[in-house]
Amino acid sequence: MHPFSLVRPKTVREAVNAAAQAGADTRFIAGGTTLYDLMKLNIEQPRQVIDISGIADLSRIETDGGQLRFGALAPMSAVAADAVVSRDHPVLAEALAKAASQQLRNMATVGGNLLQRTRCPYFRNGAGGIYPCNKREPGSGCAAIGGLDRGQAVLGTSEACTAVSPGDWPVALVAVDAMIEVLGPDGSRSVPAGELYRLPGDAPHLEFTLARGEMITAIVVRKTNAGRVSTYHKIRDRESYAFALASAAVVLDFDGERIQQSRIALGGVATRPWRAPDAERLLAGERLTPELALAAGHASFREARAGRHNAFKLELGARTVADALLIAAERRR
């Protein structure tokens, strides 16, 4: 691991100022479960690390009124266990509770989670590793394409990269159209969760749309009645403590027996948290049946492109969407 200096600001303003003054090789650290991990692998090599975990007031969870507001430093475990969140928006609580382990959820923050990096084994192979990776070393190539690609994405891939966006929480946030509050050298702004992420294209090392020195301060979700009719369904190689092979976040707005509007986002199968508008359109105005649910699942993967070992994700993903729809629909009673 490369040496670095550590600064520990006490306020958001101090943190943003510290980042503005520092060079490009500066990182915020919150829980550290992504950053410190990748520093140990020499994949991240910051010269300066700004520990934001001591900033007061940034871990608040506010559930009164018409919205849910999560401070960026709120631990995943705290939001997952919040009574209002699990009752009114199970999709959010489930996405957090099914991620990582309780130890890691106690450390990891809901803000840092949005910026976690891929678990692609070729990426994690480490700096100077024997396999090329365009995300790690731009222009070096992609060993996953044509390689051991069982875990790789089937949606949003490019000739340069097929790495999966690994997070569960971002998928749920994209489904509920959450807004991300950001503070930077030029002031504050609010970004739809979906606009935080880039497609790999020919520059897979650029993953997020945050500008340098910008800090996530909060995540805001509008409360809706449909929020209760939701779920995060996650399929893994083992029953617990694994990243998704395929997952679906679903929120259903019913008008009587018919779906008025659905929101569907996919995880484990795409290079970024993935909305499925084709499936959403298919369901609009319909009664939900198992057959229709499966059709919506397949519609979600119409544009998918499989590699050598991951074609199973098309059918697994479609059925994950179908099951998620049926689970969510049960909750309207």
């Binding site: 040496p3 670095f4 550590l6 479960t33 475990s77 309780q102 106690n106 617990s240």
Partner: protein
């Protein structure tokens, strides 16, 4: 100066070891090795290999001062900013109960409590312990009187080689305190971050069920 971890129940608090009030570590079987190093400062004896240190030319600004409470005792230490809390505990304080299995947050062998919550100490910067309370397996029992969870692990043969056991026990104590040990299913889910290569899972779940009822009774 000493403080108590908030996760401890009244019963556990009473059974926790005496707290030194003079800021020094009392020498126990486990701390004997580290007692001399406890108050030492400087960047040379962290978990980072000294060869690597020499090569990278550590500057003073690559160090951090950490004031923390370890098992109820106040300690102050200066260390390389890169040091993990796991390495600090093991290499500086001789507290080798927490184990290094993977060093990447994947196995749970390094589980300790930080301000009463279980964390993976391998992915926790030592600097993050500053101003906070650390509880390790060494601080769990009252001398020879085992914590109910430790006793339950023995009673239920919840281990084979024992490498994962300190992490399992620290995770299990937290699991009960969180209210997540209410059924076998829930125990399995909330203990899934602790891997046991010997496959002692059946005993581990039984031990936690057993200890949970005793801990609830106090």
């Amino acid at each position: 100066m000493s403080r108590q971890s908030s996760i401890l129940t009244e019963g556990e608090r009473r059974s926790a070891p005496d707290k030194a009030t003079d800021g020094s570590f009392s020498v126990t079987r486990r701390t004997a090795l580290g007692a001399g190093a406890a108050m030492a400062t400087g960047a040379m004896s962290t978990g980072v290999g000294s060869v690597q240190l020499a090569q990278s030319g550590i500057l003073p600004d690559h160090t951090v001062a950490v004031r923390t409470w370890i098992n109820g005792r106040s300690v102050e230490v200066t260390t390389d900013a890169r040091t993990s809390l796991l390495d600090l505990l093991r290499e500086r304080f001789g507290l080798t109960g927490a184990k290094k299995g993977c060093d990447h947050g994947q196995c749970g062998a390094c589980t300790i409590h930080l301000d009463g919550r279980r964390v993976a100490s391998c992915l926790t910067l030592a600097a993050k312990a500053d101003g906070r309370e650390v509880l390790t397996i060494e601080g769990l029992s009252a001398g020879d009187a085992l914590h109910p969870m430790q006793q339950a692990f023995i009673d239920h043969d919840a281990l084979q080689c024992g490498y994962c056991t300190p992490g399992q026990i620290m995770a299990a104590v937290a699991c009960v305190a969180e209210g997540n040990a209410t059924s076998r299913e829930r125990i399995r889910e909330y203990m899934s971050g602790n891997i046991c290569r010997c496959g002692a899972y059946v005993g581990i779940v039984a031990a936690i069920e057993d200890a949970a009822s005793k801990m609830r009774r106090g």
